[in-house]
């Protein structure tokens, strides 16, 4: 009878795998559920995990470090303020990026003038490098930042999500409210638009 070995292996799996439980405790979703239950200190590890990627996301969208830092701060404020709206088990990353997109849209609507201190980003982001040795690389980076800044905001956003934040087309589709296939087409169009600007 094959039943006995199956039962045995199931028993072993159950008894030999307690460490996975401790790992599950520290997932983003588990931490956010704690935050939701007013254990606000659990937002600290989430801040540690997400403040840099969110800052970088917003920095690529706005092209302004100072503004991006304020916006990223605002994202964490909204996480606290709207913690009741988080559903247990909902992917936290998608949720917090949606908040970040909303914060950015609000900012965009309030300040419609372009805020492209691209040079500022380059100078501050590449500190510590030997300016002369990397002059060519910095010029190239500056040209690419400028090309990104010239893209329409929705195309810039999709490229940033895909290229820098590691979102796949299915995740982007969820954020934008379209299918993965449609997200892929949009990403390719954005890449084509960027190519035209960059190599023009």
């Amino acid at each position: 009878m094959p039943l006995l070995p199956v039962l045995l292996s199931n028993f072993q799996k159950r008894t030999l795998s307690p460490p996975t439980e401790t790992l599950v405790e520290t997932t983003d979703e588990a931490l956010m559920t704690q935050v939701q239950a007013d254990n606000l200190d659990q937002l600290v590890p989430l801040f540690e995990r997400y403040h840099q990627p969110l800052f970088s996301f917003l920095c690529r969208l706005t092209g302004d470090r100072e503004v991006s830092q304020d916006l990223a701060q605002n994202v964490f404020y909204r996480v606290l303020k709207y913690r009741a709206s988080y559903h247990a088990g909902q992917p936290f990353r998608a949720w917090i990026y949606q908040l970040a997109r909303n914060v950015h849209t609000d900012h965009w609507q309030q300040n419609r003038r372009p805020t492209a201190d691209v040079d500022q980003i380059e100078h501050t982001a590449s500190y510590g490098r030997s300016a002369l040795a990397h002059a060519a690389a910095t010029d190239r980076d500056a040209a690419l930042q400028e090309a990104l800044a010239l893209l329409p905001p929705d195309q810039r956003e999709i490229l940033v999500l895909h290229r820098f934040q590691g979102f796949d087309y299915a995740e982007i589709g969820e954020l934008l409210g379209c299918t993965a296939g449609a997200a892929r087409v949009k990403a390719h169009r954005a890449l084509e638009a960027l190519r035209k600007i960059y190599f023009s």
Partner: protein, 286 residues
């Protein structure tokens, strides 16, 4: 169809494949489509150039430097969190406070007879006596109180306060507040830097150590700060403190930190994120 990117002057064979080229360059096409594109590329220099441009673009995008937020972001976040936590506790206390008047309303004591006049006079006399005793005591203790006032005007330095807090059982949030209120400028011989360094190296609470990091960053003009941060790196075991220290050392452009960062990048007990941060730090400092 995707007319927006179809140029008028493109030959029909190029226009038919135009939308597939980005996906081809990204390696996202199915084998049948790959064969179709490659058959066309073999005969079309213009499309070959386009594919080469997509590939260069992808590489250049990968090479774009990553901007880092300043340490103030963490300080601001912690302050916001403290405010929200404080608001939460007052919200929880509020219902009890609201409940009080209702209880009073339910059981109110109403005197059925008027108070005797003598008792009222006694109350007035007792008040006068209390004031008089206060005045006498005040006069007797005058020299001492003058000294006290002098001490108050000369506020104890942060160094003294922190040193006291270290010997007394002050709560972590008290210590964070003390450290966070550290001045942004100091004199050459002020002990504030030394006390903050001591806090950074010895305080049992990682949040206090983080606050000490940030307070030290504000005092970065002091020549003792950067070496102290370098020396503190191997002493820290909390990943948040380790990462913050690395960020600060990079922000302060301290090449002396490179050997310590190299050691940290090799430490097996450090978290992968910390080791990665150390390696990034090395990349930015060398």
């Amino acid at each position: 169809m995707h007319t927006s990117f179809t140029s008028h002057d493109l030959p029909a064979s190029c226009a038919a494949l135009e939308d597939l080229l980005p996906a081809y360059a990204e390696g996202e096409l199915a084998p049948a489509e790959v064969a179709q594109v490659e058959a066309h590329l073999a005969t079309c220099a213009a499309c070959q150039e386009k594919v080469a441009q997509y590939q260069t673009l992808a590489q250049d995008l990968l090479g774009l430097p990553l901007a880092c937020p300043t340490p103030e972001m963490r300080t601001d976040f912690m302050a916001m969190l403290h405010r929200e936590k404080a608001a939460l506790t007052t919200e929880n206390v509020a219902p009890i406070a609201n409940a009080e008047p209702r209880v009073e309303h339910e059981a109110k004591v109403i005197l059925m007879w008027s108070r005797p006049a003598t008792r009222q006079w006694l109350q007035v006399a007792a008040s006068i006596l209390l004031v008089a005793v206060g005045v006498v005591l005040g006069l007797v203790l005058h020299p001492g109180s003058e000294q006290l006032a002098a001490n108050q005007t000369r506020k104890p330095s942060l160094a003294t306060q922190l040193a006291t807090a270290a010997t007394q059982p002050a709560t972590a949030s008290d210590r964070i507040q003390l450290v966070s209120n550290a001045p942004t400028t100091n004199q050459q011989n002020d002990a504030t830097v030394l006390v903050l360094v001591n806090t950074l190296n010895t305080d049992p609470n990682p949040n206090v150590r983080l606050a000490a990091c940030e307070a030290l960053y504000r005092l970065r003009k002091d020549p003792r700060v950067a070496p102290a941060l370098v020396h503190s790196l191997p002493l820290q075991t909390d990943p948040n403190v380790q990462i913050t220290l690395i960020e600060l050392l990079v922000a302060l452009r301290t090449p002396e930190a490179v050997p310590q960062l190299e050691r940290l990048a090799q430490r097996r007990d450090a978290l992968p994120a910390v080791r990665q941060q150390a390696e990034q730090g090395i990349g930015l400092l060398i």
